[in-house]
Amino acid sequence: MVLVGSSLTLYAQAPGRGGRGGPPPAPKAAAPIDVTGYWVSIVTEDWRYRMVTPAPGDYQGVPMTQAAVKVADSWDPAKEEASGDVCKSYGAPAILRVPERLHITWQDDQTLKMETDAGKQTRIFHFGDWKATEGPHTLQGNSVAEWEMQGGGRGRGGPAMGSLKVTTTNLKAGFLRKNGVPYSDNAGLVEYYDLVKERNGDQLLVVTIVVTDPMYLREPFIISSHFKKLPDEKGWNPTACSARW
């Protein structure tokens, strides 16, 4: 019975842990999946809300509150441009819906960095005990990352499997869609990053996105975006934010 208990404990651990009292490996070394590299959006969903700017008042699919509709109905790209704040639809809750390329790298052993060519945004995913410092809300907020380990390979020397979970807070208000569908600075964001291998060998990054906002959403807004892995940076095309395209 002791043996059984010991083995089950092993299954519950992340693969590659130090064992025998050693320190656990850094998140980079413990990564069950490799999300680094260049990725390109495959826009097969919500095409007319993502590839072009949707019509004012077109809110299909978003569980908006009446307050959100009121705000969105006043959307005017000219006013956005006049305010100088044209990146509202490039914040963390919306950035993975933008047609784009991603470049994901390890900034250090504890930190993943995600850059986008569209809007030239940078997101930082902090693992471990990182604590955000108090400060103003920002477009990309504060993101805490953790690996979610899966059953296969645990403690048996098999391949590690799992997901990346990213929780983002401290967000500055922005748009879920280019046509002014708002989220407030009380919005929260949880994302799950998973890898899916296609039969043709292509590697997909599937990101499930959950946005909560007590002010502007009646229920969590749940969508998923998918990206295809690229061999290199070819096609990387940094472009500035735009309020109308």
Partner: protein, 298 residues
């Protein structure tokens, strides 16, 4: 108890435990979150909306010949109901397992049917797919395997069906790979259709579900053929160049025809450069705009 016996029992318990830990339970009722493609999955897509669909010239030509009345033909009433409807339809999922009564092992996962889709049985017992010459039907034949906590299902032997409910067709050579990824009470399905007849690249959709204690009713048998006003022998269609709806996306959303007519390039970000100078933001939305409480907003 002797030491040998303890080791023997421990070994048996481990053997029993390992596979269970490498899989997860998918059973239950899962509410579909139709926050993306809400209109397409609900009321249906606009008749000429093929943007983001990687079909080839043959696929486009077939779609352009499609009249919505086609599916009122008795022979076509059930045309939509392949397993791709999981991705393109709006409905929630009821998932259960079938176990071997002797070993207790799961031999299949079953996605309950809808009024417009037959149940999908995902065989987990290692049985092979039938010969490629075996009969095809709307249900197809599906096998599955676990990769850690992720279930991957592969469906073949599907009859001709649709990719979008506006005439974009799939052939009887199409296959569907469905990946089930569970995160607590949330599940994401990735569905990849490959079709050598009508696609130049895989067509990929992802869908989100939430576990719910409210039972999702399983309907069936799906699709009842009846008379819908198309007399026997008539095949509703549009001849080449005669489809009256090819300007619909331009009229409603200012989306250029080269985008609405689809093709693989319309899936990628750089396609935006091609249409940027032709696009202007349309006027205030007047139809199918969504609103709090509206279908598709939930």
């Amino acid at each position: 108890m002797t030491r040998k016996r303890m080791l023997f029992i421990s070994a048996i318990l481990l053997c029993v435990g390992i596979p269970a830990l490498a899989e997860i339970d998918l059973s239950g009722s899962w509410t579909s979150k139709n926050h993306e493609d809400a209109m397409e999955r609900g009321a249906g897509p606009n008749p000429d909306d093929w943007a983001g669909l990687p079909f080839n010239d043959a696929g486009r030509a077939k779609a352009l010949s499609f009249s919505q009345s086609t599916i009122s033909m008795p022979e076509r009433i059930c045309w939509f109901q392949t397993q791709w409807h999981v991705a393109a339809g709006p409905f929630s999922l009821n998932i259960r397992s079938e176990t071997d009564p002797l070993t207790g092992k799961i031999v299949a996962w079953v996605l309950g049917g809808w009024e417009t889709r037959a149940p999908m049985t995902i065989w987990m017992d290692g049985r092979p797919h039938p010969s490629k010459n075996a009969p095809h039907d709307q249900t197809g034949f599906t096998t599955g395997s676990w990769n850690g906590d992720v279930l991957t299902a592969y469906t073949t032997h599907i009859k001709t069906g649709y990719m979008r409910r506006n005439g974009a067709a799939s052939s009887d050579e199409a296959t569907i790979t469905t990946t089930f990824i569970r995160h607590g009470d949330m599940m994401t399905l990735t569905l990849v259709m490959e079709d050598p007849v009508y696609l130049t690249e895989p067509y990929i959709l992802t869908r989100s579900y939430m576990l719910t204690p409210t039972p999702v009713a399983v309907a069936g048998p799906p699709c009842v053929v009846g008379y819908e006003g198309v007399e026997s022998g008539r095949v509703p269609h549009y001849l080449p160049g005669k489809n009256p709806f090819v300007e619909e996306m331009m009229r409603l959303y200012n989306i250029p025809k080269e985008a609405s007519l689809g093709g693989a390039e319309t899936m990628y970000p750089e396609f935006r450069d091609k249409i940027k100078d032709k696009f202007v933001i349309p006027g205030k939305c007047k139809i199918n705009c969504g609103a709090p409480g509206a279908l598709g907003g939930n």
